[in-house]
Symmetry: C2
DNA sequence: CTCGATTCTGCAAGTTCTTGCTGACTAATG
DNA sequence: CATTAGTCAGCAAGAACTTGCAGAATCGAG
């Protein structure tokens, strides 16, 4: 075939080695060496060829894009719950000094799913992937996908969610302890009928919160299984899910509610107000995450803080270590949550606490209407 | 050189066409056609070759991956301000039905910058890029970078921020009108000494807000230039910036403050409380964005809503049209903001209106503690 | 200033990939 | 059942790319 035919072939009109050689004023051989990143080319010559490449719009092969070789995928489930942008932001900051470039992938309902993003990231030749609350946290999901990744091998790190049999670092907040601490806080304030609202129980963090909640309720409030079942509401994550579940718990006489996310807690507060109740006077609510802005809510939300910064740093360090080949033992690193007491919890009303005596509608204890720090 | 030499060449040991042909039981020619996405190959044969490709771990060239729809870059400046995750989420949702996969790029202080992300996106052969509050909004930045992109040609769409001379669709919220509406709202409540807090004035949206604010203040409150200068505070975006600036405005006797972001508004509220003032009794605060959760703040924030959903849909449609070659005229599409009245604004205190008596320390009027909708 | 060592580039001979053309096969039609 | 039109894989020519080798250029030591 004639050359001009080839040249006019596609709209892309891929430049030939010979064109680049001409542009850079070197031989094809040199261009070829540069393109394949082989030795024996002087730095200036190499740069000249690369420049010519760009001038002619030549698509650099993947191996040459080493400059951006330091890509790291960051897969988060959504952005509605502010804890996820918070994780994303902090992980990206932690990644910056390591020289890796984060590529954030967020799933949307009806949109791109985790596997598709992973495929894209692989295609993009990422050095590793961080999964935040991904399918690894879902006991109903097939975890072979992660074993396949590790077999390539591709370093991966999981945040919040544990799945046995995946030899990778897991970084989690101790959900069990968080639930226990939240219950303990409410018990200390005199609550006994304390409800739990969290998400669908196929998720590991949900299971752990339920387990911690039940243990603490039995130990600290002396509540039996039947009552526990009545006080546990699995719902959808998000404000509306929390609102609906809280409505049911309020009707069953709960005076305190532990929520699986801050958004659910805000929904619970809304449910209480719609029934003419005040928070924290009539109902105490504890959130989970301490996502941004929770100090500014009405009332400021008492919540279990996930040590997001520490977790992000640990995850990034673990990933970079894996990439460099000195991976730490593949266990789960549990981070301790911290109770942040703000204004959505208060001493239980006497008439509702376990000893049912007390007068009816007394003034609430002065709530800790803290100026947000 | 001998074949085995070539084969043992690199660790990657790139599979040859002949290997794939053998694996798929077809000729090299057929493999070549598949790899280059050329016609004349039966679908089953094509699939067989692709499978063989994967079996042998052959890295598919980028053009073949195009099959997996197009990628669209989505560049946002940060995730701390919840309006940005909100934009990202909605744009991703709007993108989903079009078949494009969003790649979210967020900048972080000290981390990856816009140009680096753009380079990576180009490298990844994205079909287009959406910039949210990017450098196009910064009058101090060089806008040639965008003209270069358009010359490739690569479709781009800008959200919030306008730069003349870039022939691309711009989708913005009408900042000028937002500022005017905010001022009008406060004037209607009896305020006259109304301050403005917003970001550094090299940003187009800031300039527009300032311009709208000044126009409205002159027209509605009859304030002269000197007083306006005293009531305008340019600060850093974010809670702390708002807090610092609000402190200065309060000292100068402002009874109402219009903020350039919701975060700044929360900072302003904090500044007021630290001085023993109540919001909205002693100080009315209007935010900007109506980012998520603002209905849950204390007090619920009165704010100017950006029609995020409509803007996202418009931006996505404009981008997809550009990609498909039927671009609309490249003008700026201005979306009208909407005043959302919640609990952070109230009628001006008599002693503080027009007659300047400075912020006293008396008890506030009963607050309109609205239940968030 | 000369010489040798070293680095770098181009030549040319490979190897690999692309593509026009051909013929085999299939399905529809007479 | 024969014919025709269309599709599709393979052949093989040759274009594109790679690489061993040798000569040119550079640099430092003597």
């Amino acid at each position: 075939m004639r050359k001009n035919l080839a040249v006019s072939y596609s709209a892309a009109m891929r430049a030939r080695l010979s064109d680049i050689a001409q542009q850079a004023d070197v031989s094809e051989a040199t261009v070829s060496r540069v393109l394949n990143d082989r030795p024996g080319v002087a730095p200036e010559t190499r740069q000249a060829v690369l420049t010519a490449l760009d001038v002619l719009g030549y698509e650099r092969p993947a191996r040459l894009r080493k400059r951006s070789a330091g890509l790291v995928g960051l897969v988060v489930p959504e952005l509605d719950n502010p804890i996820f942008p918070a994780f994303a932001q902090i992980i990206e900051s932690a990644l910056a000094p390591t020289g890796y470039t984060p590529v954030l992938c967020t799933q949307t309902p009806g949109g791109v799913r985790e596997d598709e993003y992973v495929e894209m990231l692989l295609d993009r030749q990422v050095s590793g992937i961080v999964f935040v609350s991904g399918l690894h946290a879902d006991t109903a999901a097939d975890h072979d996908r992660y074993r396949t990744l590790l077999a390539r091998p591709l370093p991966i790190v999981m945040i919040n969610g544990y799945a046995p049999g995946i030899p990778a670092p897991f970084v989690s907040c101790d959900d069990r302890e968080a639930a226990e601490l939240a219950v303990a806080h409410l018990v200390a304030l005199g609550h006994r009928r304390i409800g739990l609202i969290t998400g669908p129980d196929r998720f590991v963090p949900v299971q752990r919160k339920v387990s911690g909640y039940k243990a603490a309720m039995e130990r600290l409030a002396g509540v039996d299984d039947d009552e526990l079942a009545e006080l546990t509401e699995l719902s959808l994550f998000g404000v509306e899910g929390g609102e609906a579940a809280a409505g049911r718990l309020i009707e069953r006489g709960a005076t305190g509610i532990v929520c699986g996310s801050d958004l659910m807690a805000l929904g619970a507060i809304r449910a209480a107000r719609q029934r003419g109740m005040s928070v924290p006077e009539d109902l105490s609510v504890v959130g989970y995450d301490d996502s941004p802005l929770m100090a500014f809510t009405d009332p400021p939300l008492t919540t279990m803080r996930q040590p997001v910064a520490a977790m992000a740093v640990a995850a990034v360090r673990a990933l970079v270590d894996e990439i460099n080949g000195h991976g730490a033992p593949h266990s789960e690193y549990l981070f301790r949550p911290e109770l942040v007491v703000r204004g959505s919890t208060a001493v239980a009303r006497q008439d509702a606490a376990s000893t049912q005596s007390g007068p009816g509608r007394q003034r609430p204890t002065p709530s800790a209407l803290a100026v947000p720090a």
